[in-house]
Amino acid sequence: MNRHLLQEMVEKYGNMVYRLAWRWTGSREQAEDITQETFLRAFTHLDSYDRGRPPGPWLCRIALNLCRNRSRDCREIPVDSLTEEMAAPQPGPEQRYLEREREQEILRAVHRLPQMYREVILLKHVSGLSYAEISAVLDLEINLVKNRLYRGRLMLRKALQRLASDEEGKKK
């Protein structure tokens, strides 16, 4: 019974957990490990899980805890690998290259944000969770989630603007 439920969870939420872990760690291998560990932990604690609630936030919470632990163990995030598998097909190699460059910039900037902002941004934009779901994952009030998301986004924008002006300065 539990195995059947686990299979359903993997099918439905596997990608979501994998994407979150991948964006967090920047490594496909680590993301696979974290995804596997997330579902195995979920399976172990399935009996204590409230089945009336959607499992997405619960799984994200487990994955996020594992990601935090990995971050503590390994401070360096290999950002260059973060875009290696971006699937969206692009019209030409040059445009594709430019878009990848841009993505890498954004990812570097995200990884330089303080963790509390980074978490909210990743849960919103990578996992696609609602405010209420993010609030459940992080155990925060919704207003705090909104605030962190707002500040995080603005910080990201400023960081990218600063980066752009630095590069322009170098060219001159």
Partner: protein
């Protein structure tokens, strides 16, 4: 301006968390709010580049399902019991008779432990393992009864 909703409200509108038509009406007629909305929208657009279509490799999904096995709590409990009983017998031979005379005769906890272990075994083990465990328990019971008979004369 004084009655304008704050930036967090516009963010909620942008994220689809707020659908009040009055807000959209206000946005259409308020340049300051439109500017605020545009700023939030631009920042959110940048973060939107993080979205990815990457998919979990099927091999990983299969590995997860293969490795997902319930923890054999009953088996662990039975092994622990056997280990403790064996250690009591081996470490202090004289203590074994005490253990059986005082422990087994009086205590219902051993019986309860046995029942609990059996229930856990039934929940978490394959039929072959259950049979094996049942045989072990039966053997243990025979041994206990035999010892009791010897101890009580």
């Amino acid at each position: 301006m004084k009655d304008c909703p704050d930036a967090l409200t516009w963010q909620a509108v942008l994220d689809g968390e707020e659908n009040d038509p009055a807000l959209l009406e206000h946005l259409a007629g308020c340049p300051a709010c439109r500017a605020s909305y545009r700023e939030i929208s631009a920042a959110a657009g940048l973060a939107g580049a993080l979205a990815t279509e990457a998919t979990l490799p099927p091999a990983v999904a299969r590995r997860i399902l293969r490795q997902a096995k319930p923890f054999p709590a009953g088996l662990v409990a039975a092994l622990l019991f056997c280990l403790l009983a064996a250690s009591a017998a081996l470490l202090q031979p004289g203590g074994l008779s005490w253990w059986f005379s005082v422990g087994v005769v009086r205590m219902s906890s051993l019986i309860l432990d046995g029942l609990l272990g059996a229930i856990l075994l039934l929940q978490s083990l394959d039929p072959a393992m259950i049979l094996l465990a049942a045989l072990l328990l039966a053997g243990l019971e025979i041994l206990v009864l035999h010892k009791l008979k010897v101890t009580e004369g």
